[in-house]
C-alpha cells in the first residue's frame, strides 16, 4: 500500500471536516432559533472531533501532531474543497451547504467503512453513526423550509443554485483514483458523486425546490490541490491567532 495515496485521501477528509466544523461553530449565538444554535454547535463538535481523529491517523503515518497540522499550515497546504470555506452567509446558505455536504460525507463514510485500510474503515464505522443525525437534521429542515413560504422557498432555491458548483468540488478527482480503487481503499469520487446525486435529488423532489441541471455547471475544483477562495486564509489566521502566539506553549 502506498502511503502517499492514503495520506492524500485522509488530508482532504480531515481538512473538509475541520473547516466546515469551524464554520458551523460560528453560528453559536447567532442562529435563527436557539435550537439551531445548539444543532449547529453539535455538528461543529462532531466535525472538528472527526478531523482530529483523521489527523491522528495521519500522525500515525508519520505526519506532525494533530494540533500542529491543524493550526500551523497555510491555505496552500490545505486540501478542503472550497464549499467548506465559504462564509456562512444567511441561514439558508448554511443549511443548503450542510445538506449537500453531509449527504456526500454520509455516503463517503459508508463506502469507507468497507475500506481495505483497516484504521480508516474502523473510524468510518464510528463516524457513520454521527453523520446519520446530521443528514436527519438537514432533511427535516430542507423538507420544511423547502415547502413553506414563498420567501423560504426562494431563499433556499437561490442558495442551492449558488452552492451547487461548489458542492461538485467535493468530488474533485484525486490523482490516485485508480490506485485507491485497485487496492480496495476507496471506490472513487465518481461513484460517490453518483450515489450522492441520487440521494439529494430524491429529497429535493419532495419539496418545491428545483434541482439545478448539473450538466450545465462548471465544478469549482482546486481546493484539493491547495487552491482556495479569498475566504480560507482569514479563517486560518483567526483559528491560529492564539496558538501562534507561542506554538510550543501548553495552552
Amino acid at each position: 500500500m502506498n502511503e502517499i495515496t492514503i495520506k492524500e485521501l485522509l488530508y482532504k477528509i480531515a481538512d473538509d471536516q475541520l473547516i466546515l466544523g469551524h464554520r458551523n461553530s460560528e453560528w453559536t449565538g447567532f442562529g435563527p432559533l436557539l435550537e439551531e444554535d445548539i444543532a449547529f454547535s453539535s455538528m461543529a463538535q462532531d466535525k472538528v472531533g472527526q478531523s482530529q481523529a483523521m489527523y491522528q491517523l495521519l500522525h500515525e503515518l508519520g505526519e506532525a501532531e494533530p494540533d500542529t497540522v491543524a493550526f500551523m499550515r497555510n491555505e496552500d497546504q490545505f486540501h478542503n474543497c472550497q464549499l467548506t470555506e465559504l462564509p456562512n452567509g444567511e441561514y439558508d446558505f448554511s443549511l443548503i451547504r450542510h445538506f449537500l455536504f453531509d449527504f456526500a460525507y454520509a455516503i463517503r463514510f459508508e463506502m469507507l467503512a468497507n475500506s481495505s485500510y483497516e484504521p480508516l474503515a474502523k473510524l468510518s464505522k464510528k463516524i457513520q453513526g454521527e453523520l446519520r443525525y446530521h443528514t436527519m437534521h438537514a432533511n427535516t429542515w430542507i423538507k420544511q423550509l423547502g415547502s413553506a413560504t414563498e420567501e423560504s422557498i426562494s431563499r433556499l432555491q437561490n442558495s442551492l443554485n449558488e452552492a451547487m458548483p461548489y458542492s461538485l468540488g467535493i468530488f474533485e478527482p484525486s490523482p490516485y483514483e485508480a490506485e485507491l480503487k485497485s487496492e480496495g481503499i476507496f471506490e472513487g469520487e465518481e461513484v460517490l458523486k453518483e450515489k450522492w446525486l441520487a440521494k439529494i435529488t430524491d429529497v429535493i423532489n419532495q419539496t418545491q425546490l428545483q434541482m439545478p441541471d448539473i450538466s450545465t455547471l462548471t465544478p469549482k475544483y482546486g481546493g484539493r490541490k491547495g487552491k482556495h477562495t479569498e475566504h480560507l486564509q482569514p479563517l486560518l489566521d483567526e483559528m491560529a491567532e492564539v496558538f501562534r502566539i507561542d506554538p510550543t506553549a501548553d495552552w
Binding site: 449565538g29 447567532f30 463538535q45 441561514y91 423550509l145 413560504t149 492564539v242 496558538f243 502566539i245 495552552w251
Partner: protein, 328 residues
C-alpha cells in the same frame, strides 16, 4: 453560567390587598413548609411578575453571555480547547432554552421575552457588557464568572418555584464541568510561559471590578426584598453571595501566584467576612442603564440575529401559507 446579580427594582405597590387573603395565606404556608409552587397552582400576581422578571433576566444572561466567550471558539488554541469551549458555550445556549421554557410556564412567550431583550426593556447580567480582549479573558469568564453564577444558582435552586428549581438543578450539574474547564485553562496559563502569565494577570486586573459588581449592590444600599425572601424568590443577599465567592476563590487565585487589584482585600478572621474596597456603584448603575463598553454591541448582535432569523421562524409558524394576490 451566567445568572447572578439579578437586579430587583423596589416594589412600590405589592397589590397584595387585591389578592384573596385565604388563598394568599395558603400559598405562604406551602412555601413555609418547603413545598414547590407549580405552574397551575394559585399564586399572587406579584410572585408571578417577579419570577418572570428574574428567570427571564437569567435566560437573557445565558445567550448574551455566549457572545464574549463565543468570540474565542474560533480562536481557541488547539483541538482540546476548541472542542471544550464549543461544548461549553453550547451548554449556555441550552440553559437559555431551559430557562425560557421555565419562564413560559408563567405565561410569557419566548418571542416576547426576546423582543424585550433587544428593545432594552429587560436586563441581563451586567458583566457581559465588558469586552473579552484576549484568550485569558475567556478563561477568566469560564472559571470565575461561572463560579460566581454557581454561587447564585445553587442558592436559587432551593427556591419555591418548581420549574425554575428543576431547570437550575440541571444547569448546575453542567456548570460544574465549566468550572473545571475554566480552572484548567487558568492553571495552564499560570504555569506556562511569562507571556501566558502576563495575559492572565491582565485579565484578572480587567475583570475584577465587574466581578465584584456581579453580585449586585451592597445590601445596605439595595432594594428591600423581604417579601421576595419570604416567598423564596430571592434566596440569599448580594453581600452573602459576594462573601461566599471571595471565600471560595480568592485563595485559589492567590495560590496560582496572581495578584488581585484591591489592596484592601482580605479576610477578617474575627468576623469570618471578607473586607474589600467598595466597588464603584456609580459605574455599575451607568453600565446597567446602558452606558457600558459593550451594551450597544451586544444588543446589536442579538437584534441582527433576531432579524436575520425572522423568515425561518415565520416559515415554521405557517408552513402552508401561500402568497395570495389581493383582489385589487
Amino acid at each position: 453560567m451566567y445568572g447572578g446579580g439579578n437586579t430587583f427594582e423596589s416594589i412600590k405597590a405589592t397589590g397584595l390587598e387585591n389578592e384573596d387573603p385565604i388563598k394568599l395565606a395558603e400559598f405562604e404556608a406551602r412555601i413555609e413548609r418547603g413545598e414547590k409552587i407549580e405552574p397551575h397552582d394559585w399564586m399572587p400576581q406579584l410572585y408571578r411578575k417577579q419570577l418572570i422578571r428574574m428567570i427571564e433576566q437569567h435566560a437573557h444572561s445565558e445567550i448574551i453571555g455566549a457572545l464574549p466567550e463565543g468570540t474565542w471558539i474560533t480562536r481557541a488554541p488547539g483541538f482540546k480547547r476548541k472542542l471544550a469551549l464549543m461544548a461549553k458555550v453550547q451548554d449556555e445556549v441550552g440553559h437559555a432554552q431551559l430557562l425560557y421554557g421555565a419562564a413560559e410556564t408563567l405565561g410569557k412567550p419566548r418571542e416576547q421575552m426576546l423582543d424585550d431583550l433587544v428593545s432594552g426593556k429587560s436586563k441581563y447580567s451586567n458583566i457581559f457588557n465588558y469586552p473579552a480582549f484576549t484568550w485569558a479573558d475567556s478563561c477568566f469568564i469560564s472559571w470565575l464568572v461561572d463560579a460566581g453564577a454557581i454561587v447564585n444558582q445553587l442558592a436559587n435552586a432551593r427556591g419555591s418555584y418548581g420549574p425554575y428549581c428543576r431547570a437550575l438543578e440541571r444547569i448546575c450539574a453542567e456548570e460544574s464541568f465549566h468550572l473545571k474547564y475554566g480552572h484548567h485553562c487558568v492553571i495552564h496559563l499560570a504555569t506556562g510561559t511569562e507571556k501566558q502569565r502576563e495575559m492572565m494577570q491582565a485579565a484578572i486586573n480587567r475583570w475584577w471590578a465587574p466581578m465584584m459588581h456581579f453580585f449586585g449592590p451592597a445590601d445596605k444600599a439595595s432594594v428591600h426584598s423581604e417579601i421576595l425572601m419570604r416567598w423564596k424568590v430571592k434566596m440569599s443577599s448580594n453581600d452573602e453571595q459576594r462573601n461566599q465567592f471571595l471565600d471560595m476563590y480568592v485563595p485559589k487565585i492567590w495560590e496560582l501566584g496572581f495578584t488581585i487589584p484591591d489592596p484592601k482585600l482580605g479576610k477578617n478572621e474575627a468576623t469570618g467576612k471578607w473586607e474589600y474596597t467598595e466597588p464603584d456603584w456609580e459605574e455599575f448603575k451607568r453600565v446597567i442603564n446602558g452606558d457600558g463598553p459593550c451594551n450597544a454591541e451586544r444588543l446589536a448582535v442579538r437584534r441582527t440575529a433576531e432579524e436575520r432569523g425572522r423568515w425561518v421562524r415565520q416559515a415554521l409558524l405557517a408552513p402552508k401559507t401561500q402568497y395570495v394576490a389581493p383582489l385589487a
